[in-house]
């Protein structure tokens, strides 16, 4: 199992990388951590003509908090996110989700941006970013454009990024006040692709009513699926058993999972309903718990 032949470029600056991308066009493929790309190249499922290695672009490797949002460089390793106190403090959902990715040995190399552009529908980082909200900064030779995460994922392994473009950084808003989050995932073995995963971040007001919420499911559609109808329904409500039942019904309607070697579509549908309820419930409890600590 060996990869096919390719030309290798190792740019030292973002500008140099963008110039190469412009030149090679559709023949080029960017390699960052390579933890998804190299397996598919080894299996010859992908045989790019040129690899553009961005591991020297250290400018794209950072985690910063500017008072209202977190800025994360696309080349930041998943382990760095896992270990970051700032991420733990401001984006707890991400800290909770990252340990589910592969194994410590792959997280040491795998990157934040790489997981986003690879866009596996079961992957933890795309799912978490969809629940957190945020914008992706995408550079080409001529411009830098910003894309909201809701518009970024197109379908399986396909995003809004064009062949001449490079994801440079991701900005994620930090929620103030009474906010809770939760991430749950079921897989056959630790580190395997998720059968179904669920992420939720929500805020509540002083009467414990939900003011803002984003529930997202992974592994049930071609992209991380925002459960919009449930999110609308929850707004202004206390969390009750009848509300949780309605959320489960909406999830049942919305998801369209597939059967494969690992699980049937019916089982995935069952998991989606259970995990959605579990995730909303624990995010809500966390949001309330924060209040208890203050009083």
């Amino acid at each position: 199992m060996k990869p096919g032949k390719f030309d290798y470029y190792c740019p030292k600056t973002v500008d140099e990388a963008l110039a190469i991308l412009e030149e090679v066009g559709f023949d080029g493929k960017i390699i960052a951590g390579g933890q998804s790309l190299v397996p598919i190249m080894n299996m010859r499922l992908s045989t790019p003509e040129c690899l553009i290695d961005i591991n020297q672009l250290k400018d794209l490797q950072f985690i910063e908090f500017d008072g209202s949002k977190m800025k994360i460089g696309a080349l930041t390793r998943q382990t760095e996110i896992e270990m970051s106190d700032a991420v733990q403090k401001h984006l707890g959902l991400l800290s909770e989700a990252v340990p589910y990715i592969g194994h410590v040995q792959t997280r040491n190399r795998g990157t934040f941006g790489g997981s986003l552009v690879h866009a596996d529908p079961t992957a933890e980082i795309p799912l978490s970013l969809m629940a957190l909200g945020g914008t992706l900064h995408i550079a080409s030779k001529d411009e830098v454009r910003e894309v909201n995460v809701e518009d970024f994922f197109v379908t399986y392994l396909t995003t809004d990024i064009m062949p001449n473009e490079l994801l440079t950084e991701i900005h994620i808003p930090v929620q103030e006040g009474r906010t809770g989050y939760s991430f749950h995932e079921i897989s056959r073995r630790h580190g395997d692709f998720a059968l179904v995963a669920s992420a939720c971040q929500l805020s509540i007001d002083s009467q414990d009513r939900i003011s803002k919420v984003r529930l997202v499911l992974g592994g049930v559609d071609a992209v991380p699926l925002l459960i919009t109808e449930a999110n609308e329904l929850m707004k202004g409500e206390d969390l009750s058993d009848s509300l949780l039942n309605k959320i489960a019904d909406i999830v049942d309607e919305m998801v369209d999972p597939e059967s494969d070697l690992h699980a049937t579509a019916d089982y995935r549908r069952h998991l989606a309903k259970k995990l959605a309820v579990r995730t909303v419930k624990s995010a809500y409890e966390r949001a309330r718990g924060e209040n208890n600590e203050c009083s």
């Binding site: 030309d7 470029y9 190792c10 397996p39 190399r109 580190g191």
Partner: protein, 164 residues
């Protein structure tokens, strides 16, 4: 642009070699450098046998191309011993039956060595999660976990003794 000259430091020794861009680091270590302690199992990042240290972090050498490590530093299982003497972890693998056929062992030693440097006192559950990145079909993992726990205990005892 598909053949490149690279310089890399492996176990403290400098290597200058010419590589094809598609050569995996695992194959480079074994076939070009003759360092066959790094084992190759699945070649898609699942089995963990090829784990090495790249600039001090445990990573899969089958998921990196040799050309990517130009100018960087690598440690393989051959580089763990000092003056021919096995490390405490290696000795405990022998004592606790942490291996039988030995195919997975180099990768597990590399992962564990890096992991214990960053997490000197992990729980059993944390050890198991770290080991989830490695397939062992002989030991049932019990001996491996015991060897790691023994190493942690002995290190903290040594540390206490040194403090006294």
């Amino acid at each position: 642009m598909s053949v490149h000259d690279i310089e890399v430091i492996i176990n403290g020794k400098q290597y200058q070699e010419r590589v094809e861009s598609r050569m995996l680091l695992s194959d480079f270590l074994r076939e070009t450098c003759g360092l066959t302690g790094t084992h190759v199992g699945c070649e898609h990042g699942v089995c963990g046998a090829c784990t090495i240290h790249l600039n001090g972090s445990a990573v899969r050498s089958c998921l990196i191309f040799a050309v990517q490590v130009d100018g960087q530093e690598i440690t393989t299982v051959e580089g763990l011993t000092k003056d021919g003497e096995l490390t405490l972890l290696q000795r405990n693998f022998i004592q606790c039956h942490g291996l039988q056929c030995g195919f997975c062992t180099p990768g597990i030693l590399m992962s564990t060595t890096d992991y214990l440097q960053k997490n000197p006192n992990p729980t059993v559950q944390e050890i198991k999660e770290m080991l989830s990145g490695h397939l062992c079909r002989c030991t049932g993992y019990e001996g491996i976990i015991k060897a790691i726990q023994k190493t942690i205990d002995e290190r903290s005892k040594n540390y206490e003794a040194e403090r006294r």
